[in-house]
Amino acid sequence: MNAPASNAPLGKDLLALEPLSSQQIQLILDTAEPFKEISERAIKKVPTLRGATIVNLFFEASTRTRISFEFAEKRLSADTVNVASTGSSVSKGETLVDTARNLEAMRIDMVVIRHGASGAAHFLANRIESNVINAGDGTHEHPTQGLLDMLTLRDRFKKLQGLKVCIVGDVLHSRVARSNIWGLQKMGAEVAVCGPRSLLPNAIDDFGVTVFDRVEAAIEWADALNVLRLQLERMQAGYIPSLREYNRVFGVSRDRIERAKKDIVILHPGPMNRGVEIDSDVADGPFSVILDQVTNGVAIRMAVLYLLSGGKAELADKAKGVE
């Protein structure tokens, strides 16, 4: 369950940003600061999680997120096992509940789960004693992505309060969008979304976000754009007529960026479809912080692993002193 252990500032699991308080998010971001430095060392290893066993349970293909978690775990000296199992849970022989029971029987300490079904991380967390970290569940949330996006924005702007961030693209199917909306709002940022109406949830207006129909208007308004990956399947499913038209209407291009009055920071959770949602000269250009996101991803995941394993908040306090 989600009952917080007495010494666990985040509770047992990290399933979503929606239920977290701004203090908890702040704590994770602050805790990530000292962990950034570890990855810069020649010997990138601290003994924090020595003896802990962590299973990375990936039911969906993932390169970036899986490797990022694995580095975070290894740099904290945990013992890790990767289980990759593509294909839907239904087509697969074993049910998720059986997987959960088997993991529990092996006495592991933490599970990082990526799954195609919304709620899969909740499902697992409710059935095992180990800490569960959601590495993306269906179209629900991807909390560590939201956190690393916020850390990257905070690095650049030194604050999140009052920052104007527009999420561009397929918000309807995006777990990154949901985690960003919740997280940024809690931290006092102003959030907008921009995309074809067929890829925005009908209920978007109830979420306290601004909606831009034109990407030009979004660029004009925003301090930062978080550009979502457009899945090819969306076109096949008929949500948009063509990738070509999507690029012409919603693509984040150099022309559009340069027309803005101020510098604008560009984020992308990856993997990118160059020439679809983002043009190469933007992705590789001076405003892009896309590789900073990747670097910060390891630090954020180290912070989350540390805090869920019973790590103390003092680390963050020290970091704040340094800052």
Binding site: S89, D137, A203
Partner: protein, 448 residues
């Protein structure tokens, strides 16, 4: 055999009766209603004999059984026009015997079994099987509903005439919409020949495709694909228009939206031959019950918003919606123990319907107990042309005795249905069924 239901509040909307009295049942029929019948059993019917308390060993075949009903309500037995008994095909989930037993426990004297079995109940032999299994079970009556199309495939009309001959009381492809407007038109016309309703699962399949819950703020929050209210409303209006075209009787199953209520109201004003049902869960719960992916709150149509619930309550009170039906849908426990999008739709309802309705409608002062009995007994009998729904002299003795004030805590483990899938688990509800009598036989009695 004589049964005297002694001293209960006899509440029979079919004859505007609401009084404390005894009800005498003789040889399976309602014999008389009046005061002091228990004191002079010899005057009742032909076969008066020694008085016995029911349950006492050796109640003679011709004896008189007196059931003390003081403090209880005696009403015409409840009739559920929409349930899934899973036999043939999924006997591990429910059988006609366990379903009929659950119905009796819930105060239902008759239920209509939907044809989405395996194989589909789409011919006279299959309909006859359901009827035979129901007789063998000898609990609540079970009326088969035949399929509209062979195999519920939406292509070829099933043999309504032969199915009616074997005992079918309606036709439906429930579980699936009839996609072809032309097939629905033909079904409505052909059903007219046999004077049976066409029970309609209203779902525009391309809009609802892949949906796991109501489309709205909760589905967006949870990242689940939503089913918009319009998926139901489009089919409801299409099929009312086809009923207008054909004069057939369209019965709209499990209505769940405010928009549907407005459409039905319009249809009835137009004189269209339309009736409609609503389920207890759509009158009591909202999409919020899904919480963090609780598959026991997953059903189709999905739980909607409070505005929908309020519109449905008003509609079932004023008669725009005619009846309350359970859509009892048992599933094996491990079928629900999985990712939300993959879990099957449906919840069990037979043993909670009375209490849910009393708790959220009567106790909440939405409607009187009299109106509730109309919606659960009298009206279902009338619109599906079934016996029962009345305590008039000479009517079959299908009677329910219940306590409208007793609180109880829902414990699915104690259900008679094989299904345990209920969103009401652990809740304290008001209203318990006490005794169920079918055809003059006591088929359920609560043990104290």
């Amino acid at each position: 055999m004589t049964i005297i239901l002694k001293g209960g509040r006899v509440l029979d909307p079919s004859q505007n009766k609401d009084e404390v009295a005894d009800v005498a049942i003789v040889n399976g029929k309602i014999d008389s209603i009046g005061r002091g019948l228990a004191e002079r059993p010899r005057q009742i019917g032909a076969a008066g004999a020694a008085e016995n308390q029911i349950g006492a060993a050796g109640a003679a075949e011709n004896g008189t059984v007196v059931i003390d009903c003081s403090g209880l309500v005696v009403s015409p037995g409840f009739i559920d026009v929409h349930c899934h008994l899973r036999e043939p095909g999924r006997e591990e989930v429910e059988t006609i015997a366990t379903g009929a037993s659950a119905a009796a426990a819930g105060g239902f004297t008759a239920v209509c079994a939907m044809p989405n079995t395996d194989p589909v109940t789409d011919n006279q032999a299959a309909v006859g099987f359901v009827a035979r299994q129901a007789q063998r079970a000898a609990m609540a009556r079970v009326y088969p509903i035949g399929a509209i199309s062979i195999g519920q495939k939406g292509q070829t009309l099933a043999e309504f005439g032969e199915m009616v001959g074997a005992g079918a009381v309606a036709v439906s492809d429930d579980g699936k919409p009839v996609v072809s407007a032309q097939l629905m038109r033909t079904a409505l016309e052909y059903a007219r020949t046999f004077n049976i309703p066409v029970a309609d699962h209203c779902e525009e399949p391309t809009l609802a495709h892949g949906g796991a819950m109501n489309e709205g703020i909760v589905s967006m929050r949870l990242g689940l694909k939503g089913i918009p209210a319009e998926a139901e409303e489009i089919m409801a209006i299409r099929d009312m228009l086809l009923a207008r075209l054909t004069g057939g009787h369209i019965h709209l199953c499990h209505m769940s939206t405010k928009g549907s209520v407005a459409l039905i109201r319009w249809g009835k004003e137009q004189g269209i031959n339309v009736t409609a049902e609503v389920c207890p869960h759509h009158l009591s719960l909202t999409e919020e019950a899904v919480g963090n992916y609780d598959t026991h709150a997953k059903m189709n149509p999905p739980l909607r918003t409070m505005a929908d619930v309020e519109a449905l309550r008003a509609a079932v009170k004023d008669g725009t919606i005619d009846v309350i039906a359970t859509d009892h849908a048992p599933h094996h426990y491990d079928e629900k123990e999985r990712e939300f999008a993959d879990a099957p739709n449906g919840i069990v309802g037979l043993e909670t319907a009375l209490a849910v309705n009393i708790t959220w409608l009567v106790k909440a002062k939405v409607m009187s107990l009299t109106t509730l009995i109309e919606r659960m007994s009298c009206t279902p009998a009338r619109i599906f042309h079934l016996p029962g729904g009345t305590l008039k002299k000479g009517a079959p003795a299908d009677v329910t005795v219940f306590d409208p004030t007793a609180d109880w805590k829902v414990d699915a483990a104690s259900f008679r249905t094989k299904g345990r899938n209920t969103p009401y688990q652990g809740m304290t509800l008001t209203g318990t069924n006490h005794t169920t009598i079918v055809d003059g036989r006591v088929v359920f009695r609560r043990s104290h």
